[in-house]
């Protein structure tokens, strides 16, 4: 479905900053219907990686193949058409404040030139799917963070994409809302058979959502495999430290409520 082959991304040196290599030869294969997590710390290159899939970032070298098409060779004219096959959900939702819930979800269809009837046919069933029937004509300013992200997800689905790209989609949400959004994404994956690429810095998200995970550090994938295997036997130091963070996060977050490491681990699993 999606194949990244030896993808490199270098940001040229500018006044005030040296040349920065964000991706150093990424190879990643993502099968249709699979949920693949990409985890790493800030600056590991995971956001650049996901943006190379829909060409928001152009790889400096290497190829990105989606459905047997080398998308790095697409012309400026064809690129928007290709992007309509991929939905993207963002950490900060990126909803238009001037549009209602309905009109935000309709935007990708509007951009593609769909008629009012086609838009209604696509958007109306999405509202109950994400649980926002009663918010149809509300503006984003009237919604909670979790509701905004549901709009973001519905918007990404409205053009009926084959792939959903999720960029830190739960990082701005509280643990309970995070759990709900992850459940929703899992449900969507099952119902629609969507391929998903999930960028996160939280192991709990990977554990709750993903089939496979790639661990990134310094622009390379340092470890990759099935989620269970990685959790049971983390080999690389980065993976181990990301797993250790889960305990740290909850010790800091639960303000002395944790008693033992085992109790924290259990909480981490539930909230993820």
């Amino acid at each position: 479905m999606i194949r990244l082959s030896n993808v490199q991304k270098t940001y040229a040196a500018r006044r005030g900053s040296d040349e920065h290599i964000a991706l150093r030869g990424i190879n990643l294969d993502i099968a249709a219907g699979e949920i693949v997590g990409v985890i790493g710390r800030s600056g590991a290159g995971k956001s650049t990686l996901i943006r190379c899939i829909n060409l928001l970032e152009t790889p400096t070298s290497g190829t990105v193949t989606v459905d047997d098409t080398d998308v790095t060779r697409l012309s400026k004219r064809d690129l928007p058409l290709f992007r309509r096959q991929l939905g993207m959900v963002f950490q900060h939702f990126n909803l238009l404040s001037s549009r209602t819930v309905y009109d935000n979800i309709a935007l990708p269809l509007e951009l593609a030139g769909a008629s009012k009837a086609e838009i209604a046919a696509a958007v109306d069933p999405l509202l109950p799917l994400v649980g926002l029937e009663d918010k149809r004509d509300r503006y984003p300013a009237e919604l909670s963070g979790g509701q905004k992200q549901r709009v973001g997800i519905a918007r990404a689905l409205s053009s009926n994409p084959k792939v959903l790209l999720c960029d830190e989609v739960t990082s701005a949400l509280d643990p309970e809302t995070t759990r709900q959004i992850l459940t929703l994404l899992k449900d969507i994956n099952k119902r629609l058979g969507l391929t998903m690429v999930v960028i996160t810095h939280e192991m709990a998200v990977v554990k709750a959502l993903c089939d496979r995970v790639a661990v990134m550090d310094g622009g390379v994938i340092v470890e990759e495999g099935g989620v269970e295997g990685i959790f049971a036997d983390p080999k690389h130091a980065t993976t181990q430290s990301l797993l250790a963070d889960e305990f740290m996060d909850f010790r800091a977050g639960s303000e002395g409520n944790n008693n033992t490491g085992a109790a924290s681990a259990q909480t981490a699993g539930q909230e993820g």
């Binding site: 829909n54 928001l56 928007p80 058409l81 290709f82 992007r83 309509r84 991929l86 993207m88 963002f90 900060h92 990126n94 238009l96 404040s97 001037s98 549009r99 935007l107 990708p108 509007e110 951009l111 593609a112 503006y139 984003p140 300013a141 009237e142 918007r155 053009s159 790209l165």
Partner: protein, 219 residues
């Protein structure tokens, strides 16, 4: 006394409103695209064109540096070329428009730059073409700021229109100077000042109302 003052006051108010409305409309027609391009032609931006910034940035700044009264006089040949005369209400529209275009362009540029870049990215990820990013995302999201800016421009133009009164344009400024100042008629001066205050207040309130209506960020 009022009966003789009322018709000329009304006439002068109408001339002012006419000059400001026409010059604001024409200036917006030019200033809006100019502002959009100034906001989107930088490095790595939607319509990257560094030459555009290098050419039009200084022109905009230069026009804005010239005091309005100097500009109005300096472009008299241009005014004559466009409307055939340099005297009268229609002639005054030319310098008012020329002064307002860079003003509006900078205001539109600022309002568009305020739009969260995440929205541009989201629109591109949805498959928006660059023009669609402008029409479907940047302009609607910047609308409250644009309305505020155009209101500010209108109020500034009312002030400028009083200055073009000095070069024979008619309107409230002209009335105030010719009757109130040169003929020592404090009653006329007072009437002009009060009318100007009322007009500015009305424009400002109307602009604020429209901007509030367009702004869905705080409901």
């Amino acid at each position: 006394m009022f009966s003789t003052l009322a018709p000329i006051l009304l006439q002068a108010t109408w001339e002012t409103v006419y000059m400001v409305a026409v010059s604001l409309s024409i200036a917006t027609a030019f200033g809006l695209p100019l502002g959009v391009l100034l906001a989107t032609s930088g490095r790595g931006e939607l319509f990257e064109a560094l030459w555009f910034q290098r050419v039009f940035g200084p022109i905009v700044n230069a026009t804005r540096s010239v005091p309005f009264i100097i500009l109005a006089v300096a472009i008299i040949p241009f005014t004559r070329f466009v409307v055939g005369t340099s005297i009268g209400t229609s002639a005054a529209i030319v310098p008012l428009t020329v002064a307002a275009i860079p003003f509006i362009a900078r205001i539109i540029e600022g309002a568009i730059r305020e739009v969260d870049s995440g929205l541009i990215e989201a629109a591109q990820a949805m498959g928006a073409r660059p023009v669609q990013v402008v029409t479907k995302v940047l302009l609607p999201e910047a609308l409250p700021g644009i309305i505020h800016g155009l209101t500010l421009t209108a109020v500034t133009l009312i002030g400028y229109s009083a200055m073009v009164g000095a070069v024979g344009a008619g309107g409230l400024g002209d009335l105030g100077i010719r009757y109130g100042y040169q003929r020592f008629r404090p009653d006329v001066m007072a009437a002009v000042v009060i009318t100007l205050i009322v007009v500015v207040q009305a424009v400002q309130s109307f602009g604020d109302y429209l901007a509030r209506k367009a702004d869905k960020r705080n409901i």
